[in-house]
């Protein structure tokens, strides 16, 4: 749940509770005050009656019934100890409607006869007043809540914008970027702190990574010379006519290992270069022509392994870097041919949407997770396992999407979608 929503929820909840309590308290208080006021009025009536009685020694007679007021006298034997104040339902004399009345009951003595006098005043007005006040209060509360809700929603949303902008930039950031995060200036202190810290951290990460890459590149280059030395010594060694069979075999193995080393070094270098953005320039590249050329190179190999090749190669011209495009095709086709079995199948399809390369091989379905990682090899293999990592790197750098599928129970199929849409 969003912070704003969380905040709003607890904020609203507590606000509503407080307002409810406050309004209830306010209502009750107001009611009490008005009743108290009413009681005071009743006491005035009481004194008027008592004054009248003490002056005229008779009960006052109402000539006309008064609206909202009822006075009754009842003969009693003994006086009340104290006046009684209460609210009761009574019927109004004039309007004949039942309503709440506030009644003050007290005792008066006229010529040795005790009377219980009850003065009642209608609470209509009072209640009407409190009702209206309560209504206004509630409306104000409702209005306040709505306003607060809207303000929270829109203001908070605007306030959080810098945060979301930063998050979006973070998402797009990869450590192989050549620059650190470029975060704008913001006014909010917390976000300014966040941005500053992130910028610094990303800058450092990018620098460290660049250093690491340079180191890798330099190391790779440095390796070439010792490799050359070893190779040259082997080349000289084999000139000796007196080599035994086992010696020859050992030398042959040494050559093989050297070849792998050289290829490995080369591939690592290529990967480093692709990652560091050396191949970012793009032009219009005719993939169809490149692919046909490449297939021609593999002609005799396909023939000697008796691999049946089916092609469906249409036009495909995309904005790409020519070097990495060739590397991509090279790796995919080389994989398909070298992993293939004698008498196996090899199918290629090319169009403006995608490139599809399928081949049979000695392996069962491959696990996609490890497939594109460096050195993720399947089973005993003479290959370095970097080919697909290079493919993946090129795709990432150019915005293509590469996928693996095991089809027809025997075909390993690799698809490269030029538009980069994820089709899983």
């Amino acid at each position: 749940m969003k912070l704003a929503t969380r905040y709003q929820r607890s904020y609203l909840l507590s606000t509503i509770v407080i307002f409810l309590i406050a309004s209830t308290a306010f209502y009750l208080l107001l009611h009490r005050v008005l009743i108290f006021q009413m009681d005071e009025d009743l006491e005035i009536e009481q004194r008027e009656i008592e004054t009248y009685v003490s002056r005229f020694q008779a009960l006052p007679q109402n000539v006309l019934p008064v609206e909202d007021q009822i006075v009754t006298y009842t003969k009693v034997d003994a006086p009340l100890r104290a006046p009684i104040r209460r609210t009761k339902q009574m019927r109004d004399a004039v309007e004949k409607e039942a309503g709440d009345f506030r009644q003050l009951t007290f005792s008066v003595r006229v010529k040795d006869q005790w009377y219980q006098a009850a003065v009642s005043k209608s609470l209509d007005a009072t209640e009407g007043l409190t009702r209206q006040i309560a209504l206004i209060a509630l409306m104000i509360i409702a209005l306040l809540l709505v306003l607060l809700f809207l303000i929270n929603r829109y203001v908070l949303r605007r306030l959080w914008k810098p945060f979301y902008r930063t998050v979006a930039q973070l998402k797009a950031f990869g450590i192989d970027n050549r620059n650190g995060l470029v975060l704008p200036q913001v006014e909010t202190e917390e976000f300014a702190l966040l941005n500053a810290t992130l910028s610094a951290a990303s800058d450092k990460a990018v620098k460290d990574y660049a250093l690491l890459r340079t180191f890798t590149e330099n190391a790779s280059h440095e390796l070439q010379t010792p490799l050359a030395v070893v190779r040259s010594k082997l080349d000289l060694l084999i000139q000796d006519e007196a080599l035994s069979a086992s010696q020859s075999e050992m030398i042959a193995n040494a050559y093989t290992a050297l070849d792998k080393m050289r290829h490995l070094n080369q591939s690592l270098l290529e990967l480093a270069k692709i990652e560091s953005g050396q191949y970012t320039q793009t032009v219009q590249v005719d993939i169809q022509a490149l692919l046909l050329d490449k297939l021609r190179d593999f002609d005799e190999l396909l023939q000697s392994k008796e691999i049946s090749l089916t092609t469906n190669i249409g036009g495909c011209i995309i904005q790409a870097n020519p070097v990495t495009a060739e590397m991509l095709l090279d790796n995919l086709v080389t994989n398909a041919v070298y992993h293939n079995v004698n008498g196996g199948r090899f199918a290629i399809e090319l169009n403006a949407t995608r490139l599809l390369v399928c081949n049979t091989s000695g392996h069962a379905a491959l696990a996609p997770a490890r497939l594109f990682t460096r050195f993720g090899k399947t089973g005993a293999s003479a290959r370095t396992g970097l080919g697909l990592a290079i493919v993946k790197q090129i795709c990432e750098a150019n915005g293509y999407e590469v996928q693996y599928e095991y089809a027809d129970n025997e075909l390993h199929c690799f698809s490269v979608f030029w538009d980069g849409a994820d089709r899983t």
């Binding site: 010379t225 050359a228 070893v230 190779r231 040259s232 050559y255 003479a382």
Partner: protein, 225 residues
């Protein structure tokens, strides 16, 4: 024939000289920039094998100085750097060829020979070995006077052998020469055997002796049987 090797890794320079000594009378070695400059200014060579990364300066600068002095030597750049840009720079500055480390000595030898051929007779057009005659311009092979029909790869293979005559050439070197970046399928030389077999068959059926000798476990060698 004088060769100068400008390379700071002594073991490598040593290997190159040993291999080339067969063909070329003199093989000299300079291990750093000042020594190289001295040697270049002091004598004329037929071919200079130049490493770019030298202590004390860049090999490219030596190349620039060489060209500025209008010297006629052929230059073969050897470098660990494989980038196309580096290659283009080197060639544009006047180098005749560019070879990336690690290379096979047989490859180096073939290229040096090509450079010297181009320089000395302004491109000798016929390369001969016993009864074999390779017309380098027309890329045609003759046994005495008879034309032998060879595929492109078979021709390349034969030229490579002749350029390294009497040397044992490893399968690795042959495969590398015919197919770029063969390394990842190291150990599987089936198609190399096929090409060699076809080449031998064609030569023999054209009346030539079987020049290509197989050296057990290692590779092949051109020799007069």
């Amino acid at each position: 024939m004088k060769i100068l090797i400008v390379e700071d890794e002594a073991a490598l320079a040593d290997s190159i000289c040993t291999y080339l000594r067969h063909e070329y009378a003199v093989c000299e070695h300079a291990a750093d920039f000042p020594a190289a400059r001295e040697k270049i200014e002091g004598a004329d060579y037929d071919c200079i094998i130049l490493d770019i990364n030298l202590p004390g300066g860049s090999g490219l600068q030596l190349l620039a100085e060489l060209k500025a002095d209008k010297k006629e030597e052929g230059v073969l750049i050897i470098s660990a750097r494989n980038a196309t840009d580096d290659k283009i720079t080197g060639l544009r500055m006047g180098a005749d060829d560019y070879l990336t480390k690690p290379f096979h000595l047989s490859e180096l030898s073939a290229r040096v020979e090509a450079i010297i051929r181009r320089k000395s007779f302004s491109g000798a057009t016929i390369l001969s070995y016993d009864q074999l005659h390779l017309d380098l311009n027309a890329k045609v092979v003759r046994i005495n006077d008879r034309v032998v029909e060879l595929t492109r790869k078979e021709y390349d293979l034969l030229l490579y052998f002749v350029s390294n005559k009497s040397k044992v050439i490893s399968k690795s070197a042959l495969a590398d020469h015919l197919w770029e970046d063969f390394g990842d399928s190291a150990g599987n030389y089936d198609f190399l055997y096929t090409h060699i077999k076809n080449l031998r068959r064609k030569l023999v059926s054209a009346g030539a002796p079987d020049y290509i000798q197989s050296v057990y476990g290692i590779g092949y060698k051109l020799h007069i049987p």
